[in-house]
Structures are given as C-alpha cells and as structure tokens.
C-alpha cells in the first residue's frame, strides 16, 4: 500500500507541474510585440526608420516604380528576347496589363500600403507614446510627409491623371488610421486634398533643413516643399507648383545645380533634396534599380535606351548626360548608366536613389510658368535656360527661345533628358495628355506586340489596374477601362 501512496504523490506532483498555463505563452525573439512599440517614441522612431526601408524596397522606389515609368515611355526598351531579359516589369513595357494580371503592379500596391500602415501606426500612436515632445514633432512631420508622398505615387500610378477628368476621377482608398478598414475609393479630388493636407501639415511640423552631408536621406522641410511642387504640377495647380518650386530654389540657389564638369551622379550630390540611402541594410543586388540598366559586373542590363533617347541626348554640345551612355548587352552604346555602383564595393545596385532633385524645381517653375503661372513664358524661359546652361558647353546654340506649344515641348524634352530613370517617364506623357508613340523599328524582337507600340494618353494601360487580388479580397471597385 505504501507503493500506492507514494505513486499517488508522485503522480500528483507531476500533474501539478504540467498544469502551468504559462507554458503556453511563447513569444518570438526576432520580432517585437505591438505593446512595446506603440507606447514608446523611441520605438516609433525605429518604425519610421523601418518605413524608409520599406519605401526603398525593390517593389516600390527600389525598382518597380522607376523602371515601370521608364519602360512605358519612349526612351527605354527591353533588350531583344534573345538576350534573355528577366521578366520584371516586362508586362508594363508590353502594355499587357489587364484586370487579372498586372505583374509587379500588384507588388507596388501592397508595398505602398505596407509603408502607409507603418506611417498610420506612427501618426495614430505618437501622441500618447512616452518620449520627448520635440522628437515627437519631428517624427510626426516626417511621417505625414512620407504618407503624402506614398499616396501621391499611388495616385499617379493607379488613378487616371488629373487632366483626364479632374477631381471627379476615381481616386484611392484613403486609409489614414491603423485599425480602420477602408476599401471604398475616394474621388481623385479627395485623394489630392489628402496628399496636400499631409504635406502641408508636415511642413508646419518640420524644422528648417540642416543641409548636413547625408541629411537628405530623410524627408526634410525642403524635401516636402519639392514634393509638394510636384504634386501641384500633377494637379495642374500652376500657381502653387511655381510657388513651392521657387521656395526650394530660393533655399538652395543656382550654384547648387551641377554643371557640365561637375555632373556626377554620386550620393548626396549638391542637387539632392530627398534621396533614398541604399547601404548593406537595404541593398537589392540584381533586383535593385541600377542593375536593371547596367550590364557590368553581372548586372541585368535588360533595359537600354532607344535610338530616340540617344538622339535626344546628343542634341546639345558637351551634354554631360550623354556621357552616361555605355556599352549594353546587345553590344551597342545604349546602356544609360545613371546609377553607378559605389567604387568602394557593396555589390550591384549599390547607389542611392534620388527622389527629388533641385533641377526638377527649375523644370517645374518653367512648366508652371509656361502654363500661365507667375511671370508666364518669360519666367519659364529664364528658369529653363538656367538649367540648360548647366548642361551644355555651347549654351548660345541651345538656348530656348520658343514660345507656346514649342516651349512646352522643349520643357518636356528637357525633363526626359534630365530626369530619365528617376520615376517620370510615362507619367510625364499622360499627365500632359500626350500619346506615347514608339517607332516600330526601335522595338523589333523585343517581345512587344506591334499593336501596343502606340498608346493614347487616356489608354487604361497607362495606369495600373487595382490588383485582382485586392478586388477579389475586398471587392474594391476596379478602375474604369479595366
């Protein structure tokens, strides 16, 4: 019987030991719980840092948006099929998007909202988090500015341009808080209002720039102004576009424009207003931006300049931008290598990514003024020529004197030369209502269907459809035309 008693005792102990429910709380150690992050300003600051990382991923500004903009325009093309290009963004080049399939258009959508959700968490929780008030203000300012930027990139990619039907076009679902579910699309007007509101609020919160080397890897007051100028340009609010662009120029001054001899696309160059830092933490290698255009060192080099663009670059004498052309995969001199791998290593696509530069401000002033803002065409010519003077050794021969439609065309051309591969390409056509005309001879054997070479500005395929997965999951309204 003693055995029996002892056994019962042992049994009891064993059962009691096993009963602890604490055993069932297992938490990972490589991730941080929600509670810990949302109550601390320090951690929310890390969340902001992480959001810059998300913005720099290949599915957003790290590749897709810029590459898409380039291959849908007139100036770049895929190499011929026999040179085995990767299929990244090929669907955009071929204008084969449809409601069921939009290639990396789906990734761009998700990645943008991933960034927006991080920003919403910051914006919603900052007020009650523990920490320094000045730091809170700085974080909130950057977060709002970034949210404006991401919504703007979404608006110009997934909604028809302002010129098509103005404020009444279909806009975006405006998810402004972390816990609400928004699947209703706002009007384009409401979308732009929100973008502008975010950016304006950001301006009110941010301190003046320090202009320390490397400081433009974060969104600064001047950076927000520059983006705002761009937003107004897309919204065809010429006065405001001109106003903010000029404010930026006033802050920086003409001497910050790179010149013929100083035109080097290095990190944090003098024109930098906002750029993405790409270092080992967020480098993308062959999936990154630079490797798409640069064939050297094992890069993909799948995207090369068209003859049209090469001709455009050779218009000015001594244009430093023409010097960026190198040998490409097909053996011609059509690789446009704006993004150069850092000389001190770091692999492929080891370069910062410019988001907005000073030269664009000159072009915005020129365009806004040519459309009647500020001092009109004379002001337009003055700003445009200021830039051109920095891009040729023979200014007098290339000085712009045209007016009217011809002036508009010169500005557009200058944008193609100056801002190539910086996320403008196709957007610059459609926001101005210009068709995309791609010569047959420049696209032979590149896999594109001949009937998809000429695209009217209002064609649905100039913008991305709402991804099928989104429509399927949330019933979100598809864009008209898809």
């Amino acid at each position: 019987m003693k055995i029996f008693k002892n056994s019962i005792l042992i049994l009891g102990l064993v059962f009691l030991q096993g009963c602890s429910e604490d055993l069932l709380d297992q938490t990972p150690d490589h991730v941080i719980s929600e509670k810990l992050v949302l109550n601390s300003v320090e951690k929310l600051d890390k969340l902001l840092t992480g959001t810059y990382n998300e913005v720099s991923r290949n599915t957003y500004l790290g590749r897709v948006l810029y590459k898409r903009a380039a291959v849908k325009g007139n100036d770049f093309r895929f190499v011929e099929t026999t040179y085995n290009p990767r299929d990244y963004e090929l669907i955009f080049y071929k204008y084969e998007e449809n409601s069921n399939s939009s290639g990396s258009g789906e990734d761009l959508w998700i990645q943008s909202f991933k960034a927006i959700n991080n920003l919403n968490l910051i914006i919603n929780n900052l007020e009650n988090a523990e920490g320094n008030a000045t730091q809170k203000q700085e974080i909130l300012g950057e977060a709002l500015g970034l949210r404006g930027m991401v919504y703007f990139d979404l608006a110009r990619t997934y909604a028809y341009p302002w010129i098509k039907a103005g404020a009444s076009s279909q806009g975006l679902p405006l998810k402004l808080s972390s816990d609400e579910i928004v699947t209703e699309r706002s009007s384009l007007g409401a979308t732009y209002d929100q973008i502008i509101l975010d950016m304006q609020s950001s301006l009110d919160l941010l301190e003046e720039n320090s202009w320390d080397q490397g400081s433009t890897k974060y969104l600064t007051k001047t950076g927000v102004k520059a983006l705002l100028a761009r937003v107004y340009l897309y919204k065809q609010d010429w006065e405001n576009a001109l106003k903010y662009a000029k404010e930026v120029i006033a802050t920086r001054g003409v001497d910050k424009l790179m010149g013929v001899n100083s035109y080097v696309f290095e990190d944090y160059n003098s024109e930098s207003l906002f750029e993405l830092s790409i270092t080992s933490e967020n480098s993308l290698g062959s999936n990154g931006l630079g490797a798409q255009f640069d064939f050297k060192n094992g890069g993909q080099g799948d995207i090369i300049a068209t003859q049209t663009f090469v001709d455009l670059l050779s218009a000015y004498e001594g244009d430093p931008r023409a010097a960026l052309l190198e040998e490409d995969k097909e053996g011609t001199q059509h690789a446009f290598v704006k993004y150069i791998n850092r000389s001190d290593g770091g692999g492929l696509s080891a370069h910062n990514i410019p988001i907005v530069r000073l030269s664009e401000m000159y072009l915005i002033v020129a365009e806004a003024a040519a459309n009647g803002a500020g001092g009109g065409e004379s002001e337009s010519l003055s700003y445009l020529n200021t830039l051109i003077e920095k891009r040729t050794t023979n200014f007098s021969a290339n000085q712009v004197i045209e007016t009217g439609e011809a002036l508009q065309e010169r500005i557009a051309e200058e944008r193609r030369r100056e801002l190539a591969l910086e996320g403008h390409g196709v957007y610059d056509y459609i926001r101005r209502g210009k068709d995309i005309i791609r010569p047959v001879a420049e696209h032979v054997n590149t896999g594109v269907n001949v009937s998809n070479l000429n695209i009217v500005a209002t064609d649905n395929r100039t913008i991305c459809p709402i991804p099928a997965s989104e429509v399927e999951a949330s019933g979100m309204e598809q864009t008209e035309g898809y």
Binding site: C19, N53, G103, G214, N282, V440
Partner: protein, 1026 residues
C-alpha cells in the same frame, strides 16, 4: 539357405521397425522463420495431449512423442504449423509470418491493443516490408502496402516525401501525418526554419535520420477511434514507429550489407543541336515577319527573295549567339549519373532474465542520379529495458544519427539560375557545357542566360551541403501500483542540429560577376522535450472487461538559428563564415512552441464480443490565438465480433467483425506565431540605423482545423486463408487553416484564418489470400485498393490563379465544390490551319459556346479534372519455393490528371527561344506545313500558346513495378553463422503512364514542373545471423 536367411532377416527388420514405431521416442529439430533465422520460444505442443515444450536460444526443441502424434508449432505473428510424427527423429520447421493474426500485439496510441479488440481503423506494417525500399527513410516503403495512404517521393538521397493518409486534409496548413517514435511525438517538421528559402537545399526529409533497420513495426492510425487520442495534431492521421527491443537469451547478431545502382526512371526526350538550330531560325524568321511584315506569313513565305532575306538575317542572329559550329551538348547526360548505394548494418539483441537490449549501428552512403548529390548517414541505437523491481520497469530508447547531404536547390516549383536541375533541362544543345579555358573547365552560357548559371559549373564548383546531427530518445519508468493499476512516465527528447553551407561559386550563376562568390552559412538547433504521464487500469469483472487510461502530456520545442549571408568569398575551398568578405545579412532568431494536454480513454468489452471505446483529449497550444487557446477532441467507437455469436456458426466463416467510429481531430497552424501581431526587425534598417516594420496582423481567434471523422468497417476471415477488410470513411474538415485574402490596404495580402470546409471520403479494401501452401511451395497474395474523393465545400473566395510572365498561369484553382487540385485551363482546339495559331474553344462559365478563337485572352477558362487519383492501390505476391523467395509489388492508380507545366518553359512555341524543346515541338506550322499539330513557332511568341490549356493536360493513370525481390536462404555455416539470406532487389523498375518524364507517384498536386526524377534502383544484399 541364403534365401531363408534373407527372409528371416527381413522379417526381423520389419519387426524391429514396427517395434520402434510403437515406441515413444525423442523428436528434435530447429524452428526457423522464413528467412532461416532460428526462432526462440516457439510453443511445440503434442496435439490432444497435455504436453509441450518451447524452442531454446538456438531455435532447437526436443520432445518425447509417439509415432502418429501430431506436433503443433505456434508463435505469435506466425502461421501455426502441424507435423505428424513418422520415422524421422528430426523435424525441422519453417514458420511463416501470418498475414493476419487477431491476437497479435498492435501498438496504438499510448498503449497497445490487438486486432480483435481494436475498434478503430489502423494497420500495422512489419520491419520486413519497411526495409525494402532503396531510400534512406522508411515511410516510402508504405506506398502500395497500406490502403488509404499515398506517398509521393523521388527516391533521391534523403529526398523529401509527401505522405497523405486519407486524402489532402488542408489547404494552407500541414498535410503530413503526426509521427510518434516509441511513444514520443517527434519533430517531423520538414521546414528547417533556418536556411534561406531561395538558395537553400530543398526537399529535406526529417525522417531520413531514422534507420529503417531499427524499426520493428509501424502502425498507421487512420480513423478517429485510432487517432483522436493525439487531439490537435492528429487530423492528418498518425504513424506510430516502434523500434526493435531486446529479448531473453543468447545474443543474436545480424549483419546486413547492401550495394546497388540507380538510374532515372523517366527522362524526357529533347531535341538535338541541328533540330534546335532549325527551330530557332524558323522562329526568328517568323518573329521578323510578325514585327515588320504585319504577321503576313503566307505572303512572305511565298516571296522567295523576301523570305531568304529574313532567313539570312535569322541565321546570322543565330550564329551571333551560338557560333557557326554545333556544340551538340547533352545537358541531361552531363547532370545525370548512375547513383550508387552502399549500406551496412550491424545489430545485436539479447538479454538476461531482468534486462534486455537491442543495439545497432548503420552506415549508409548513397549518391543520387544527379551529379554532386548524395547522402551519408551514420546512425546508432541502444534500446534497454530492465525489470528493476517486481513493481518497477525502467527503460531507455536512444538513437543518434548524423547525416551529410549534398543537394542543391532542385525545387520543382522554382525556375531560374539557382536551380541547376531546371537549367540543365532547359538549356539548348547549342550551348556548350565545357570549355577547357573556362573557369573550372566549364563554359559560359550564350548571352549569359540567368547570370551565366551553367548548371554543371554551379554544381561542381559550388557547394550545397546540409549536415544534421540528431538525437532522439526517451526514458521511461513503469510502476505497477496495485495489480490492475499501473503508472508510466516517459521523458522524451528530440535534438536536431543543422549546419548548412550554401555556396554560389564565383563564376556561374548567382555568385558570379561583381559578387565574387556568395556564401550562406546557417546553424540551427531544435530541442524538443516531451513529458508523458499515463495511468492505466485494466481489469475484468466476469465477462465485463475494462481498460481505462488517464494521461497528461506537455511538449516544448525551442529552436534557434544563426544565419550569415554574404559575398566576396575568399576562396572556394574555404567556406567558413570568416571567408565572407562583405555581409549581406546576418540574422538569427528563436522560435518556440508548446503544447499542454490532458486525455483519457475508456474501453469496455463484454465477453470479447461487444466492444465500446471512448477517448477524450484537451489540448492547449501556444500556436493558437489568445482567445481560443484550448481545444477538445473526442471519439466514440464500437465493434461487434459477430463470429462469437452462437447463431453465427457457419463453416468457413472463421472471423467476422463490424466496426464503427466517429470523432474529432485537429491540425495545428504551421507557423508558430501566426496569431500574434508583431514588428519585424530583420532587414529593416535604413541609413545606418536599425528599424522596425509591421510584420503581421494579429488573429486572436486563430485555432486548430477541426476534422470530423466517420468510419465504418468490417474484418472477415474465411477458411483461415482469406482475409478481407473493408472501410468506408468520411472526413469533414472544418475551420480550415487558410491564407484568406485580405485587402492589401492592411499592408498584407493574406491572413491565416480558420475558414472553409473540405470533405475527403472513400472506401478502402484489403484482401489477403494464400492459394497454395505446401511444405516446399507456397504462394501468398494480397491487394489493396483505395477509392478517394476530395471536395472543397466552403471557401471565402475561389483562389483563382493569375498569370506571371516567368511561370505562366498556375494551372490549379481552389474553388468551392471542386477537388483541391482542380485544373483550370483553356480548352485547346488544335492548330488553326489558316494562320498556325493555337486555337481554343471559347468557354463561358466553363461551358463551350461553340465558337473558336486564337486569342488566348478571350478563350476563357474551365475546370478539366483534378490531380487526385480516383482509385489507387497495390498488388503484392510472394512465392516461396524451398529456400527461394520471390516477391513483387505493383502499384497502380487511375482517374487523375497531370498538367505538364514544363511546356511553359520548354515546349513554348518559341516564347523563350533561348531554351531547348522536347521532340514534341518538331514540325511546327508554317505556310508550307499547314497540317501541323504544333502551332507556329515565333521567337518571343506573344500568343500565350504556351500558357495553360488542355493542350498540356494528360491522364495520370499508371501501373508501376514498385518493388521486386528474389532471395535465397543460406544454410547455417561453420557453427558461427546461424543462417541468413542473399538477395537481389529492384525498385521502380518500370512505369506505364501517358506523360513522358513524369512519375505520378512523385508529385502530389499533379503539376509536372522539373521535379527531381524518380530513381530506379537495383540492390544486391546479404544478411547473416550469428
């Protein structure tokens, strides 16, 4: 006189003989099993007399009996043997395994039972069957042997297998059964949770570190009555592995040696260099015509001058890439080889009155049919049991194994330079393999396809190695508290240490160019421990029998890993982490889970005639959401042995039992933290600072998948020689773990939720028969058949596939009302003879409208069958003649379909002209060949003719000679060798099926896409007993 004497002598002799016969004499002999191994403890009884004995350590018996008496030999698990005593004093007996033994011990959940009293659906497989495969792990040998179980495997060294019991149980969750080793649930996670998804070696098999020679038996638990005691993890069935134990008596030593060769069972037929060149040029000409002549092929082909312009242009394009001489490369020959297998096994078992032991050591060295692949395994086992006190039994089972596996990323779902097998199967014969001047002697690829990923160079110069060190074991104590009440406590461990080296070399593929080599070093460790306490009460009150079990269990698993990934590798021979020049990432993390359970089982029987059993288990799991942490699972089952009834006394009907069960099981979420909201830190830094990003939406309601199982069955034995088992099952899985699409505005595309329902139902038949059984010759045959139907009955949204230019559209759709692997395709209608384009029947809502189109975008889609076989089974025969045994197993299936997705990459009508084709692409349509069955070939083909359509859909009905073995029993030798056998065996020797290069038993979802080919193996073996 002489004659007289002779007569007398003869008479005397006859008398003498008669006298001897009438006398009681001593009969002796040796009892052996069918392999010629002496059997200890066989009961030898004189029929109709109360007299008997047992065989000794050497299988020898001796008994006094009279001539004319009948000796009856019996042993559990063997067929009884009877011999009438004649003139011989020596009667040697060979005992054969009985096909069905009703009273044989059968290991089941947390205990044992026997076939007679067990109320569930379960099946036991013995070691002989398990060691039959040429693969490293045992489970692959179950295919075709057990009904209701389907195993897909490639037969490559240490290759992954996919085991399904009674259909596919889940869409996004785990579909593999739970494995229990000597009573302890082992970690059978095939996800290493350590390496990088993209570059990691794939197809890791967690069971390959278990030596199949150590296994005594396997029980497959199929229905709720059998498996519900395992609660939240049992929805996909349970496989219980029992290792060999010791036994009293002289130590018995077994030595086994096997050696063999393997080749691919199937290989596709590819075009040669000249054919490639012709197709390429034709495609290029057509591309020019398409792009510059408004696709007016007939006009241009009719205009000789114009045509030869383009042809010359195309030829010069070709020569610009591939040169003027043919390389005549055979990439398949270069990447495939003859595999070799060597296996050595030494084991000993024995014991004294109180202690028994089993120890074994095993070495396996296998090279695969792909170059630079192989597996080396060293393993050892010690099983000990000691009767410490009359009320206490102590024991330990411990195994240690080390495996070294070479296998690159041969993942059959990824197509690109990092997958050398894929590359070798798509690269054209015009691309040279070798170049004496090239790096390591290998050639660069034309146009540096996929970053110059010459697959032979990738494999030969790179390194993809995975070593695993695994310790599994348990220690237990069994206490007899008072007679019918006993207590058993078990402590089990499972420790896994993984070390992975993945090196993309400096020249070919991902490590080439500026990277100067890419190296990924991973170390990870998983430690799992389990504590099980069982209280057992087993007593009979007259005709009422009770068996009651109360149990408690907790299991904790802790994993941690360190992963270093970088480029600029110092030297191809120095692959330590310090050889990495520049880091891409360094990461490391821990992942843990825990389970806490209480359970009980009550079994009652009346007079061994009526059986009733219930089980109950409550599981709490860390993987569940905080609002649904505990789940309850139960079962109720009964059985009636009808032949025990007096009214059912029919001659020849020896045994008839009816069974029925109903109960619930669960399936855990595969991810450990799927319920939690959290922020990620890994790889979220920016501008020199560390960062965070929202990593997962929380789901506090996340819980188990619930499967509701119904089973009804019967077991019959007729004339002692025909066994029949029939089961009908219906398994409904609710609250499916499903990656439910959510609005991307949340920042995520899907969330793991419990949503959806699926039904697997069907029939299982097993029949065993022994047509002939004489002393010298016997023939045993058995067959099994499973009829299975899978249907998704509830889903939030159909999961409709989308197109990607890298893979085309996924041919599978997940749709309510359809089977899980249903094919969603265009309806191909052959080649339009007027323009050469592929044409389709236009489908609207899956129905033909009667119109045809050549525009793939307008063709529409419909469902055309599914991948799961409607019926599947095995057919086994064993023939014994004297000391020879021949047996063979055929497996078969029918009613399923296979989609050949390789067509998108290879038989693509020129879509990707840099890749080769199979011979099916020869003779495409052109204006001079308008009756062609292959559409027009255009380089960079924009018509989607290579995308999903019924053009690439095949039947996957098959018949396979899974296994054949001829063995000869060796006689005892030199007093030391007690016996043994020598054999030759073949695995996967032939296969009949419609699609070339495809093994229906290697792929679960019916999508053929450059999977690792099945190995066909021939083995020679020798086994000796000492």
């Amino acid at each position: 006189m002489k004659n007289k004497l002779q007569t007398i002598l003869t008479l005397f002799l006859v008398l003498l003989v008669q006298m001897v016969i009438a006398q009681e004499k001593t009969i002796s002999g040796t009892v052996m099993d069918q392999n010629g191994i002496p059997m200890i403890g066989v009961n030898v009884i004189i029929k109709d007399a109360q007299k008997g004995t047992q065989t000794d350590f050497d299988g020898i018996y001796s008994i006094k009996a009279n001539v004319g008496d009948v000796l009856n030999f019996s042993y559990i698990g063997k067929n009884d043997v009877s011999r009438t005593i004649g003139t011989d004093d020596v009667i040697d007996v060979k005992m054969e395994e009985s096909a069905e033994s009703l009273d044989e011990v059968m290991i089941v959940a947390y205990g044992s039972s026997n076939k007679r009293s067990f109320t569930g659906a379960a099946e036991t497989v013995k070691s002989e069957a398990l060691t039959r495969g040429a693969t490293a792990s045992f489970e692959t040998a179950l295919q075709g042997k057990v009904s209701g179980i389907n195993i897909s495997t490639s037969g490559q060294p240490g290759g992954k297998s996919n085991v399904q019991i009674r259909g596919i149980g889940s869409i996004s969750g785990n579909t593999q059964p739970l494995y229990v080793l000597d009573g302890v649930v082992i970690n059978s996670n095939s996800n290493l949770r350590a390496g990088d998804d993209m570059v990691g070696t794939t197809g890791y098999n967690p069971l390959s570190t278990i030596n199949s020679e150590d296994i005594k038996s396997i029980t497959v638990l199929k229905d709720a009555a059998a498996s519900s005691l395992y609660g939240s993890r049992a929805a996909n069935g349970v496989i219980i592995i029992t290792t060999k134990d010791g036994k009293k008596g002289e130590t018995e030593i077994t030595l086994g040696v096997e050696t063999g060769w393997s080749q691919n069972l199937t290989e596709e037929k590819l075009i040669n260099n000249e054919q490639f060149k012709d197709l390429w040029i034709e495609g290029q000409v057509n591309q020019y015509i398409q792009n510059t002549e408004n696709a007016e092929f007939t006009r241009v082909y009719g205009d000789n001058g114009l045509y030869s312009n383009y042809e010359n242009q195309a030829k010069s394009d070709y020569e610009g890439i591939y040169g003027t001489t043919n390389a005549n490369s055979n990439w398949l020959d270069a990447i495939y080889q003859n595999g070799l297998i060597r296996k050595y096994n030494l084991s000993a078992r024995g014991g004294s009155e109180k202690t028994s032991f089993f120890i074994s050591g095993n070495y396996l060295d296998q090279t695969g049919t792909i170059i630079e692949t192989g597996l080396k395994r060293y393993s050892g086992r010690v099983n000990l049991e000691n009767q410490a006190k009359n009320w206490l039994k102590l024991g330990v089972n411990l195994s240690v194994a080390k495996s070294e596996r070479d296998a690159a990323n041969f993942d059959g779902s990824y197509a690109g330079g990092l997958n050398p097998l894929y590359m070798a199967r798509v690269l054209p014969p015009a691309a040279p393999i070798y170049n004496p001047e090239g790096f390591g002697g290998f050639a660069n690829l034309p146009n540096e396809i996929e970053k110059n990923a010459n697959p032979i160079g990738v494999l030969k110069v790179g390194e993809y190695k995975n070593t695993e060190f695994r310790v599994r074991g348990d220690a237990y104590a069994e206490i007899q508290i008072v007679d019918p009440l006993s207590f058993k406590t078990t402590f089990g461990i499972d420790q896994q240490t993984i070390d992975e080296t993945l090196y993309d070399n400096k020249e070919f593929g991902a490590g080439g160019g500026i990277w100067n080599g890419v190296l990924n070093r991973v170390k990870s460790e998983v430690f799992q421990y389990t504590v099980t306490n069982l209280l057992n009460y087993n007593n009979d009150f007259g005709k009422h029998g009770f068996d009651i079990l109360l149990g408690q269990e907790s299991q904790v698993s802790k994993m941690n890993s360190i992963n270093v990934y970088g480029y600029d590798v110092l030297d191809s021979e120095l692959l330590s982490a310090s050889s990495i020049g520049s880091l891409w990432s360094h990461s490391g993390y821990a992942e843990n889970y825990s389970l806490l359970s209480y359970f009980s089982q009550v079994a009652y029987n009346f007079d061994q005639k009526y059986y009733l059993s219930t089980s109950f288990r409550r599981d709490g799991s860390s993987r569940f959401g905080k609002d649904s942490r505990w789940g309850t699972f139960w079962s109720l089952s009964g059985a009636w042995v009808a032949t025990e009834e007096d009214f059912l006394n029919i001659d020849g009907l020896d045994y008839l039992k009816f069974r029925g069960s109903y109960g619930t099981n669960g399936n855990l979420p595969p991810q450990y933290y799927a319920a939690l909201a959290f922020f990620e830190t890994d790889g979220k830094g920016y501008g020199g600072e560390s960062g965070l990003s929202y990593g997962q939406l929380q789901n506090p309601d996340l819980s188990w998948e619930l499967s509701k199982n119904f089973n009804i069955g019967m077991d019959v034995n007729l004339f002692s020689e025909l066994d029949l088992t029939i089961n009908y099952f219906h398994k409904k899985t609710e609250d499916l773990l499903l990656n439910v699409p959510v609005s991307s505005t949340t920042g995520f595309m899907t969330q793991l939720q419990n949503f959806g329902e699926m039904i697997n139902k069907g029939w299982e038949f097993e029949i065993g028969y022994k047509p002939v059984s004489t002393e010298d010759f016997s023939w045993r045959t058995s067959a099994n058949l499973t009829i299975l139907d899978n249907k998704i009955t509830k889903l939030k949204n159909d999961i409709v596939p989308t197109y990607s230019s890298r893979y085309g559209q996924n041919p599978l759709i997940i749709k309510q009302g359809e089977s899980i692997y249903s094919f969603y395709l265009r309806d191909y209608a052959g080649v339009d003879p007027s323009n050469g384009y592929a044409q389709y029947h236009i489908l609207e809502n899956g129905e033909r409208t009667g119109e045809l189109t050549t525009d793939a975008q307008k063709a529409g889609f419909g469902i055309f069958g599914d991948a799961l076989q409607d019926f599947q089974g095995g057919f086994f025969n064993q023939l014994l003649y004297k000391d020879f045994t021949l047996d063979f197993l055929f497996t078969f299936g029918g009613g399923g379909k296979v989609y050949d997705r390789t067509a998108f990459k290879r038989d693509d009508d020129g879509f990707a002209p840099q890749f080769t084709n199979t011979v099916a692409q020869l003779n495409p349509w052109n204006p001079n060949n308008i009756d062609a069955t292959v559409p027009i070939r255009i380089n960079g083909n924009p018509t989607f003719s290579n995308d999903v359509s019924t053009r690439n859909l095949y039947n996957s009905d098959y018949l396979k000679l899974k296994n054949i073995k001829l063995s000869y029993n060796l006689p005892p030798l030199w007093n030391t060798i007690k016996g043994g056998n020598i054999y030759v065996q073949g695995d996967n020797l032939f296969l009949l099926t419609e699609l070339d290069g495809y093994d229906p038993e290697a792929v679960v979802d019916g999508v053929n896409f450059f999977q690792v080919p099945t190995a066909k193996t021939v083995l020679l073996g020798l086994q000796l007993q000492f």
